[in-house]
């Protein structure tokens, strides 16, 4: 079975996000970029499926500028087999991403698509569900455990207040949550090997998709800043202040 893993190049989760003074967006100049952490978990899950013999090939696809090739290389170094870059320099919203991925699915015919539940830049949490809708496939989002059962998969999902397990028929979409696995670090030999793995470069037009955003960003602002408060010296002082001043105890 072929597994398709879409990955997104985003600002590294450890970088402090700075809003541009002209409110046009977030400053991405000279900022460390990495694979979205949820996508990393998706790549890891696919590689584990291959190691277990459940997956035969892992195809990684990214939609973004030419630098997104680095993100694809990271996935190849973790153990994916080949990559597809759909090159587009401007912002591509989840709806357009889902339409592009639908095109990739039509070409590649994967039995399973594993992807991050959310990109940590736009925080939409939408692409996987949208792709499932466009393909009319079952979806199992926010997965913390995936077990292949032959024609299907049992997926345990993180829901409010606990866990829900669904059995989905394949092909299906699974989106990953934090608890699914801990992604590996690529070894140096695997990083070297990844350089030789093929990456196809395509454009949105190749899939007949218009990537023009439906949303116009009018401004991006910083949320109200918190002021540092006061220091307390003792437990009695703290409890008194929480009770009488803040009224939260």
């Amino acid at each position: 079975m072929k597994v398709l893993v879409p990955v997104k190049r985003v600002i590294d989760y450890n970088v402090k996000v700075r809003v541009k003074p002209d409110q046009s967006g977030v400053d991405l100049a000279n900022v460390k970029m990495s694979m979205d952490p949820f996508d990393e978990i998706a790549v890891e899950e696919a590689v584990r499926l291959k190691e277990k013999g459940s997956a035969t090939e892992i195809v990684v696809v990214s939609i973004g500028p030419s630098q997104a090739q680095e993100t694809i290389r990271t996935a190849l170094a973790m153990g994916a087999d080949r990559g597809i870059l759909i090159q587009h320099d401007a912002v591509v919203e989840p709806l357009a991403v889902a339409k592009l991925l639908k095109g990739v699915v039509a070409e590649e015919q994967p039995g399973l698509v594993v992807m991050g539940k959310q990109a940590i830049d736009d925080d939409n949490n939408a692409t996987g569900q949208m792709l499932a809708a466009l393909l009319d496939w079952p979806q199992a989002t926010f997965a913390s455990k995936v077990e292949l059962t032959g024609e299907g998969a049992n997926v345990t999902r993180e829901v409010d207040g606990g866990l829900q397990t669904l059995s989905v028929k394949l092909p299906a979409i699974v989106t990953t949550d934090l608890r699914l696995n801990e992604p590996r670090y690529a070894s140096l030999p695997n990083i070297m090997k990844a350089k030789k793995k093929p990456i196809d470069v395509k454009s949105p037009a190749d899939y007949g998709v218009d990537p023009t955003p439906r949303h116009t960003v009018l401004k991006v602002t910083e949320p109200a800043k918190r002021q540092a408060g006061i220091k307390v010296e003792s437990a009695a002082d703290l409890v008194m202040k929480l009770r009488n001043e803040a009224g939260v105890l």
């Binding site: 989760y13 450890n14 970088v15 996000v17 977030v26 949820f38 709806l95 889902a98 830049d121 736009d122 925080d123 939409n124 949490n125 939408a126 569900q129 949208m130 792709l131 499932a132 809708a133 079952p138 979806q139 989002t141 926010f142 829901v159 409010d160 207040g161 606990g162 866990l163 829900q164 397990t165 669904l166 059995s167 989905v168 028929k169 934090l178 608890r179 439906r214 949303h215 116009t216 960003v217 009018l218 401004k219 991006v220 602002t221 949320p223 918190r226 540092a228 408060g229 006061i230 220091k231 307390v232 003792s234 437990a235 703290l238 409890v239 929480l242 009770r243 803040a246 939260v248 105890l249």
Partner: protein, 315 residues
């Protein structure tokens, strides 16, 4: 314009999130219908009929709807949307699961986690885990919106008397079968909804210490337990305790950070809390820059002292 709000409920009663989502809907329109999806959810529908300002309640029932299976929910909502200009869904785990599916079927780009309605086309939503707010205008004819409930003030749950209309629409999910559910049975409140959260960081040093220090304090004040990513990565606390950019985003009335330095990714998950208390022996820890009450102290002495003080005053 007419808008449809999807209720969040436990089949018996509505959750607060429903009343907050109706509040968001009121900034768009006065023609608000509420859709109750469930299995044996008649009581929830009756409760929805009492919400002030609701025009009509729609009730659709079925086994897959009782589990909020996304494909079944999609099958009910998509045909209904012919009669509505906007769909508003509380951004619970169920809402986040099905709303984008509906949006894609309608060929609409979803507005996720909206915290403010500017006008019928314009919305404010957090990006980068709340480190920035974007104001966006949607050009789609219909709007599909998930609403961050903590950003809106609940409308009155009493005073209305809307009619309840039962839908006979089929709601099948042929490719998906519910297997089971394990809900956390805990006397502690759920992390995402708790009024007080006590979180521990790497300074705790071990899982045993985390349990011995953080959990009793949380239980004493009826709090949920959280942890920093560093504490989770070190194995001191389970992953689902993680508060931060890649974990849970919380906004309780009181957040107590114990032995947490305050990495950016943690601050992103808790900085909207009403009151923040930081206890850390490092006076330069970044957590103190966002704390309302900072206490520079070693947790080893501070927490027992705090427990004793809380005990004295009957808590």
């Amino acid at each position: 314009m007419a808008v449809l709000v999807v209720a969040d409920h436990d089949n018996q009663a509505l959750r607060d999130t429903t009343l907050k989502t109706v509040a968001a809907a009121q900034s768009l329109s006065n023609e608000i219908d509420v859709l109750v999806l469930g299995h044996g959810a008649e009581s929830a529908a009756q409760a929805a009929a009492k919400i002030a300002g609701v025009r009509k309640v729609l009730l659709a029932e079925g086994e897959p709807l009782g589990r909020m299976i996304a494909e079944a929910v999609e099958a009910v909502i998509v045909p209904l949307m012919a009669g509505y200009d906007a769909l508003l869904v509380p951004s619970t785990s169920a809402g986040k699961n099905f709303a984008p599916r509906v949006a894609a079927k309608l060929d609409v780009m979803q507005l996720s986690d909206v915290v403010q309605v500017v006008d019928a086309e314009t919305f404010v939503r957090p990006i980068y885990a709340g480190n920035a707010l974007e104001t966006v205008r949607s050009s789609d004819a219909k709007k599909v919106i998930t609403v961050r409930p903590t950003a809106f003030k609940a409308v009155a749950g009493e005073g209305g008397s809307a009619p309840v209309e039962r839908l006979s629409a089929s709601a099948e999910a042929p490719g998906t079968r519910f297997v089971n559910e394990e809900m956390v049975v805990s006397d502690r409140p759920e992390l995402g909804a708790a009024k007080i959260v006590v979180s521990g960081g790497r300074a705790l040093g071990s899982a045993e210490e985390f349990r011995a220090v953080i959990e009793p304090l949380a239980d004493k004040i009826g709090a949920a337990v959280g942890a920093s990513r560093a504490a989770v990565d070190a194995g001191y606390a389970p992953n689902d305790y993680q508060v931060g950019q890649t974990g849970k985003v919380v906004a309780p009335d009181l957040y107590i950070a114990v032995g947490i330095s305050g990495a950016i990714q943690h601050l992103a998950g808790m900085k909207d809390s009403k009151v923040i208390v930081a206890i850390n022996k490092d006076a330069d820890a970044p957590i103190f820059q966002v704390a309302d009450y900072g206490w520079v102290a070693d947790y080893k002495t501070a927490i027992p002292a705090l427990m004793e003080e809380l005990g004295k005053s009957g808590k």
